[in-house]
């Protein structure tokens, strides 16, 4: 059951370039548990789309099945959404993207949806470098089916059920990097100030952008023995640097005064200003990032922030040389070779 939120807002709510308030980017009332990390992630998505002044109807919200996959109903009410089947959001999104490359695709999945049943589709989605934002709301557990370990649960971590996980965890960031994704980030639902710019950067990135967002499940995996609890994550996360995004149209940005170490231009002319911090990574070297991830794992650290960036990669459409015009916009006359050609085909078959 979903209830529409009251759209009443104080008349002076700030508006973005399109003249929309943030409320325009909201969705139906969430039915998730109070305190669920996923709701915070939804809020960050709302914020990012608002700040980037995206047209809501030019966004497609895609998901699989799970508590996480329900969230597209809770943000961007004026966008089309597709809550597909478990683990198969990647293929549905690929098709949708092939049909209309002009939209922004935001895919939401869970760690069960991605790392278990969806592992094959996820890997191939990355490999094709589909132009989309992929957010995995990673809580190390199957929320909707009441608390089984997922494949991202760390060895030794135990959910509310109390049995420690024995199996090697899947590190989605490591996988995405080794499959050539050009934008790979890890974040935490509780850290909006980090997450919002990461989402913005991901939206602006041309190609596949992964955000593996730790998002605790308060009901089944927020206990002491869990490495996906609010507490554990707060204690072990280690930001690798911060950045801010300067959209192409914008000229001056007032931001935190950290020193800008590097400035990277994105595909559409936007600019990423990287503010490196002590633990900062060389985010443009696959090799160095992979070893930092391995190292962090050994030290029980969780690296967060933008982990890898490569702005040169070509997205699926570019790789297969498809028309700039969305496929769903072609008319019959543009698609059908017609009767004369058909007659010549007939002739060649005689």
């Amino acid at each position: 059951m979903s209830y529409l939120k009251s759209t009443f807002r104080h008349p002076e709510s700030p508006k973005n370039k399109l003249g929309y308030t943030e409320a325009v980017y909201e969705g139906a009332l969430s039915t998730l548990c109070a305190g669920c990390g996923h709701d915070s992630v939804s809020n960050s998505i709302i914020k990012a789309c608002f700040e980037l002044s995206l047209e809501p109807h030019k966004i497609a919200k895609m998901s699989g099945i799970g508590c996480s996959s329900k969230t597209p109903a809770y943000f961007l009410r004026s966008s089309h959404g597709f809550n597909s089947v478990h683990g198969r959001m990647p293929s549905v999104t690929t098709g949708a993207n092939m049909a209309n490359r002009d939209l922004t695709f935001i895919g939401i999945s869970g760690d069960g949806d991605t790392a278990s049943i969806g592992m094959g589709q996820f890997m191939h989605l990355v490999r094709r470098n589909l132009n989309m934002v992929y957010i995995c709301m990673n809580n190390g557990v199957y929320g909707l089916t009441k608390g089984q370990d997922s494949a991202t649960a760390d060895i030794g971590s135990a959910s509310k059920k109390g049995v420690p996980n024995m199996f090697e965890p899947m590190d989605l960031c490591e996988l995405a990097i080794s499959l050539g994704s050009g934008y790979v980030a890890r974040s935490f639902s509780g850290d909006k100030s980090q997450l919002v710019p990461l989402i913005e950067g991901a939206i602006k990135h041309n190609g596949f952008a992964l955000i593996d967002c730790i998002s605790p499940c308060v009901t089944f995996n927020n206990n002491n023995a869990s490495t996906k609890s609010y507490e554990w994550v707060r204690d072990h996360k280690e930001a690798t640097g911060t950045f801010d995004l300067v959209p192409e149209e914008q000229e001056i940005v007032v931001q935190q005064p950290n020193q800008i170490l590097e400035t990277i231009s994105l595909h559409d002319g936007s600019v990423l200003n990287l503010h490196r911090q002590p633990h900062s990574l060389d985010i443009q070297s696959r090799e160095s990032v992979l070893s930092s991830l391995e190292e962090a794992r050994q030290n029980e650290q969780m690296l967060t922030g933008l982990l890898y960036l490569n702005t040169d990669s070509r997205n699926t459409h570019e790789l297969i040389n498809s028309s700039e015009k969305p496929m769903n916009s072609f008319t019959k006359d543009e698609l059908c070779p017609g009767s004369t050609i058909l007659e010549s085909i007939n002739e060649s078959l005689r």
Binding site: M1, S2, E55, P56, H57, A60, P72, A73, R77, S78, S79, H80, G81, F82, N83, S84, V85, R88, P90, S91, V92, T93, T94, G95, A96, N97, M98, A99, N100, D102, L103, G120, Q121, M123, H124, R128, I320, N321, S322, S323, E324, K325, P326, M327, N328, F330, K332, E334, L335, C336, P337, G338, S339, I341, L342, E343, I345, N346, L349, R350
Partner: protein
């Protein structure tokens, strides 16, 4: 005694696969066609790449019967491994052409068979030095020999060689030479040996020769498909290859870019997922597969059914179950296609029977899918898909528009007075109006889901809302009966009480068999099924006859089962009492329902509050 026939015989080539025999055998078959004589070739190949027995059967059929006839009149036995079997295959009076470089072993002494030994291997050794040439030309030599034996127009063959190698001219003389070698050898050693011949006629009209899968691929191009995700599997692969070939030719935009997006997916789940996603976004998209893939697509087909997303799936059937015989034909996915997916799901199925049908039905499938907002499965098979068939030519009316079904554009949304509901049945046909993402800034967005939903696409667990939605889908199913292609019913005799029902590739052989029976005075009316759900005419047709043969190519009589269970013939005595609201069925409601039914009242079978007002 030897067989004598002009333009009416069956020849079977026995080869080893990977030796280039298929193209030589095809050349023979096409030459017959070019002489104006109808022909029907069948490639019978193993599920492997090289070195195993393979056969190629060509039926020369002046009368135009293109189905398989049965029995073999002439064998070209090039494969030592199967010599015995091929020999035994011949009907009395048949001909046995073999490689006489080595003498036939003992036991090949049928006196009702005419032997034609040609030392093919030796001739190749004598004439060619390169081993690959020796292998390839062996095939061309026997084609040359056949030209003599069947008294064919030699020029037809040489012209074909010239066409084929138009771009590699230097290959023409050696090929023509090989044909001549064979021709001359046969002329010298086997004059007047063969009672079978091919003689020019004008019986093919404007027919074309093409395999069904290429035709299907072409149909997808004409039907406006732009997105295709697919995973290779025999015998469906060439559907996509056909689509790609024609799209690359006719679908390039002014910047040299593709007006289509073709992706090889990682498996069949992904392939159908892509097709669903693209159709949801408003492009026409399809995928093609065979049995194992169909099984894997079940969950997604259910999603598309319930979320009402058009999608076109081509299933080129092969012999099941499981991996079965991947290079053999069958019509055994009928039930799995019709009832694909768990829950109360039914799928629309279209069944072509020749390449022109493949082309036409594939193009039409997109209209049907868009109109009905549901998956449409085009059910072909290996025989149709992978063999060349003589066929009516393709036709396209340039005035024909794509029927995109009920889709609201920005303007319509803008001007809409009433509240729009994605799944609201405003026209009484069970079909709502959909929107493509990105259409309008504030109107027309909705949330698509495989979970239960109300008219406005909102999630619901409300029993009566769920039930109303399910009943609307039944209404849509009724609508589908008229939208899908209608059956082809033919009366040989309006009073005859005997009939036959068939579909797809069972049609050709059935018509021939029934013509034969008619010649003997037995008149059997026919119904060729072209789609599921069944049109009401099929029901009437069945009612009109007392004895009906249902002819199909599977073990379990799947179409017959489907007919029986959809029409409920003779089973009025079994009445349903159904509960579908998600709650356990309730005793009081069953009781009231039975009481009313026993009273002879006409009541819905559903026990739920919604449809029968029998309390909560």
């Amino acid at each position: 005694m030897r067989l004598e026939a002009i333009n009416e015989f069956v020849i079977r080539f026995a080869n080893v696969n990977g030796t280039g025999s298929a193209s030589a055998n095809n050349m023979f078959s096409k030459a017959v066609f070019r002489m104006g004589v109808p022909v029907s070739p069948k490639n019978i190949f193993p599920s492997n790449i090289q070195g195993l027995p393979t056969w190629f059967e060509v039926r020369v059929t002046e009368s135009g019967y293109l189905g398989s006839r049965g029995d073999v009149d002439f064998v070209v036995a090039i494969n030592g491994q199967t010599l015995r079997k091929d020999y035994d295959t011949l009907v009395p009076g048949g001909y046995f052409l073999y490689d006489s470089t080595k003498a036939l072993p003992r036991g090949f002494e049928r006196d009702d068979v005419i032997d034609i030994g040609i030392p093919l291997t030796q001739m190749c050794i004598d004439n060619y030095s390169n081993p690959r040439q020796r292998q390839l030309f062996k095939n061309i030599i026997y084609v040359g020999a056949l030209a003599y034996l069947f008294n064919m127009e030699f020029e037809v063959l040489t012209n074909m060689v010239k066409e084929q190698f138009a771009k590699k001219e230097k290959l023409i003389p050696p090929n023509v030479g090989a044909l001549e070698l064979g021709y001359n050898y046969a002329k010298e050693h086997y004059p007047d040996t063969c009672g079978l011949s091919v003689s020019r006629r004008d019986n093919v009209g404007d027919a074309i020769m093409i395999d069904g899968n290429s035709a299907t691929g072409l149909g997808a191009v004409y039907g406006g498909a732009t997105v295709c995700g697919w995973y290779p599997i025999t015998p469906s692969t060439s559907v996509v290859e056909g689509f790609e070939k024609y799209a690359k030719k006719y679908r390039i935009d002014e910047h040299g870019k593709n007006k289509f997006a073709l992706l090889q997916s990682e498996d069949e789940l992904s392939a159908i997922g892509m097709a669903i996603g693209a159709n949801w976004m408003g492009a026409r998209a399809f995928t093609a597969t065979s049995g194992p893939g169909l099984s894997l697509m079940g969950e997604f087909l259910g999603l598309a059914y319930f979320a009402e997303i058009p999608v076109v799936l081509v299933d080129v059937q092969r012999s099941g179950p499981s991996t079965g015989m991947p290079t053999r034909t069958q019509q055994s996915d009928v039930l799995s296609a019709a009832y694909a997916s768990h829950g109360d799901t039914k799928q629309v199925v279209l069944i072509p029977c020749d390449p022109a049908d493949c082309f036409e039905m594939m193009a039409k499938a997109f209209d049907v899918a868009d109109r009905l907002q549901t998956p449409v499965i085009v059910l072909s098979d290996l025989d149709l898909g992978m063999n060349d068939h003589m066929s009516r030519p393709f036709v396209w009316d340039d005035n024909r528009e794509y029927d995109r079904g009920k889709v609201l554009n920005a303007e319509q949304l803008e001007n809409m007075k009433e509240r729009w509901g994605r799944y609201k049945d405003v026209d009484g046909d069970g079909i709502g109006y959909r929107t493509y993402p990105g259409t309008h800034p504030t109107k027309g967005a909705y949330f698509t889901r495989g979970s239960s939903h109300d008219d406005y696409a909102a999630y619901t667990e409300d029993s009566s809302v769920y039930e109303a939605n399910m009943e609307r889908l039944v209404l849509k199913w009724e609508t589908a009966k008229d939208v899908a292609p209608h059956p082809q019913i033919k009366y040989r005799d309006k009073d005859s009480k005997i009939a036959a029902i068939f579909y797809g590739t069972s049609a050709q052989a059935s018509y021939e068999a029934l013509d034969g029976l008619e010649a003997e005075g037995i008149k059997i009316n026919t119904c060729r099924i072209k789609s599921f759900p069944f049109h009401n005419d099929i029901g009437s047709f069945i009612q009109e006859h007392d004895q009906i043969f249902v002819i199909e190519q599977n073990r379990d009589g799947q179409m017959r089962s489907l007919l029986i269970s959809e029409f409920n013939f003779g089973t009025n005595r079994m009445q349903s009492i159904l509960n579908i609201d998600g709650m356990p069925i309730r005793a009081r409601r069953i009781k009231r329902k039975i009481e009313r039914m026993l009273n002879g009242e006409k009541v819905s079978p559903f026990t739920t509050a919604h449809s029968s007002v029998e309390g909560a």
